[in-house]
């Protein structure tokens, strides 16, 4: 099985969108501020639907928000 980890650019995208707060982003996609914080920190992987919603808020493709990083040696 391919080993890897999901990374994201939510923090940067929030910054580029008028320093949008985690609470505001969460409110717009129906998640709590704590869940956004967990996603941002890479401690929780959102559902595909939530991931698409996040991308829609920032008006960017999904791949610009989330990336799959293959671990070394793969």
């Amino acid at each position: 099985m391919m080993e890897g980890a999901i990374s994201n650019r939510i923090r940067m995208l929030r910054f580029h969108n008028g320093e949008m707060s985690q609470a505001e982003l969460g409110q717009r996609i129906g998640l709590t501020r704590q869940t956004i914080a967990a996603i941002e920190a890479g401690k929780y992987s959102p559902t595909l639907e939530a991931a698409f919603r996040i991308a829609q808020v920032f008006n960017v493709p999904l791949g610009e928000v989330f990336q799959w990083e293959v671990r070394d040696g793969q």
């Binding site: 969460g26 129906g30 998640l31 709590t32 704590q34 869940t35 401690k43 929780y44 559902t47």
Partner: protein, 141 residues
């Protein structure tokens, strides 16, 4: 700290305050074996349960008034995933306990020993449920 995690901490605290003393008294053999229904033991269990409900009720009101907006927010996908994980963990504990209490204990014990063992397994399953909730929220915090 998420509202639902606070409520799990409250529930754990309420169980520690009520059921730990109850089971400590029971397992220490404070109650002599008497024929059913043993009203002294029944009264103690009723008292402990009432105290737990009161603690939960007061705590629930306190938490709700402390963060009314969070309390109104419906659980999101992470909350539901954590809830589902905690429920399945607790289910395995409960089913194992019930198999032991229902299928093995009747051959070796009787009366309040079986009742208390069943109550202990229910409380243990509840502790596991709330514990898994707290653990998951802490791990993802």
């Amino acid at each position: 700290m998420p509202y639902r995690e606070k409520f799990s901490w409250l529930s754990l605290a309420a169980m520690v305050v009520t059921y730990v003393p109850y089971f400590a008294i029971v397992f220490a053999g404070y109650f002599p074996v008497r024929p059913l229904p043993d009203l002294r033991q029944l009264s103690l269990f009723a008292l402990v349960s009432i105290v737990r409900v009161l603690i939960l009720g007061i705590g629930y009101l306190y938490l709700r008034l402390g963060s009314p907006q969070e309390a109104r927010t419906p659980p999101d996908e992470r909350d539901l995933a954590i809830k589902s994980h905690s429920m399945s963990s607790a289910y395995y504990v409960l089913i194992s306990g019930m198999i032991y209490v229902g299928c093995f204990m009747p051959f070796t014990s009787a009366g309040w020993t079986i009742v208390n063992a069943a109550l202990f397994m229910i409380v243990t399953a509840e502790v596991v449920r709330e514990g898994v909730v707290v653990f998951c929220y802490r791990r993802q915090a």
